[in-house]
Amino acid sequence: MTNVDAVKARSAAGPTPGRDRKAPALKPAKPKFRWANNWHYPVLAVALFVSVFPFYWMFVVGSNTNADVAQVPPRMIPGPNFVENATNAMNAVPFMRALLNTFIVAGTVTVSAVFFGTLAGFAFAKMKFRGNKALMAFVIATMMIPLQQLGLIPLYMLMDRFGWVGQLRAVIVPALVTGFAVFWMRQVIATSVHDELLEAGRVDGCATFGLFRHVVIPSVRSGAAVLGMFTFLFMWNDFLWPLVVLGGNQSNHTIQIALRNMNQTYYSDYALVLAGTFMSLVPLIIVFVIFARQMIAGVMEGAVKG
């Protein structure tokens, strides 16, 4: 590759940013918008559209009558019937009860997983003990294995033995602390809790739990909040195990089971089913809108660390 080629290639690639900055001095007009340099916007816009469209469609179907949607071409804009459809959906299955159950399950698990995850993460990140590294490697290995699915049958037998089949605690207890929570909090504590503070606390006569309360907890709040959101969303969306263990007891259904039953019974009534589905997503969308930045950062940080 000669120098001339490189220069040619550069000029073919369009103006460099440096030249762009100079351009206004020569020519007061705005720098020209070139599609050749900005073709990624349309591609990204299409991706964004594909990502968001199903939510829009859910609302379109859920806010029209079935007749409006079952014509060619179908109605593509929201109609006036959303409240009616949503009310029907919420009467078709014990919707509010299921929402409450899901809140109880997801809320309890979130608090517990964050607490025990932080405790174990503290031990792994900042304390010396025999087998620290090996045990941590083991925790990471468990994250890769979908234990719940593979051990489904004995898990059910166990719950049967405990008399917990149909009870919310059958979903809550196995999830009280996860390998992911331990791993996540270990990473957070390793990077955001300063050793000097711990040493100072030690000198002041803090036992380890004192250090945990007064030093660790105040410095890991944001990392713990991200873990909490992920845990909450995961439990909110969990389906297989709740279906197996709670399926027989309608008053303890979670929202995903209620949705499934609604879909099973009223599948020809798209307006009702999609209005109900939309309602079930509202809490998630609220959580997402508030915490989107932290969640994106969480996913991306997790990628680099993992």
């Binding site: 010396k128 009280l176 030690r202 389906f239 297989l240 399926g247 996913v299």
Partner: protein, 340 residues
Amino acid sequence: MAAVHSQDPGLGPQSTTSWWFRREARIAPYLYISPFFLLFLIFGVFTVGFTAWVSLHDWHIFDTAHGGGTFVGMDNYVRLMNDARFWRSATNTFSILLMATIPQMFLALVLAELLNDRRLRGPHIFRSGLLIPNITSVVAITIVFQSLFGRHYGLINVGLDFLGFEMVNWTASRLGSHFAIATMVNWQWTGYNTLIFLAAMQSIPTDLVEAARVDGAGRVKRWWKITVPLLRPTILFATVLSVIGNFQLFAQPLLFAPGVGSMGGNNQQFLTILLYLYNMAFRQFQFGYASAIAWMLVIITAAAALVVYAGVGILNRRENRAALAVQKTRRANSGQEVGA
């Protein structure tokens, strides 16, 4: 560095409590990690191990209360080998896995490259828009896509009809249903993987890509020849996770065609392994046989993950050999030059 020293003589006012003070710091970590290991022992080790035991029995759900089923040795596995439905579910799972993983990784790499541009305006909008499918529940996703893939009034068929193509009966055809289910998986996970790849791209040094740019390599070439190979560990990790996840496909085939029951369509055209397991265990209550399916699923999943690792290993080795060959020719050439 560990900050909590178990032996720090002379520090602090612990003269009277020093023995306990030091002892506590040694015991505490085990106490703190014990909740995880306790739960894991009961709900992880025990359950997966006990699955193996149950799989060696003719074990009906009611046998559980009476001390277990009848021991039948490997009978369940022999039956599994000759079970056409199981093999159909396995082929379905593989087919959906291929349709879901490959386009997803490719698309995510393209989108990550487009997002990895400091001049991009409104990156937050694109990123959050791409992540939102991932936080949506599979149940909700399947319900919406089931409407989009509807036979007569589904938007996709209406679109096909409008463009002059024939409408597809997505739930009835084997390939069609696999495509529809793979679409749901792709929709949910492409954005997530995009963010993972974007994070990895931001952490690779820019000088290589810059050097290639100066040398006149186009954007596509820079992406395919430099960025993507550098991302290989991340791609491998994402692929393995995707493979493992796809073997757990359950909600999509269960909910996809609500009119035709839970066996993955009238001809089991979209029955997956986990859905078959669920049917055996909790509809037919054959715990022994279902446990054998569970163990087969473990083995297949592990084997598939190993195949991905091995594939990347071969790729790496071949590349190393190519690099070595280049070095050798260079050395030979320079030798000639010196000689001349």
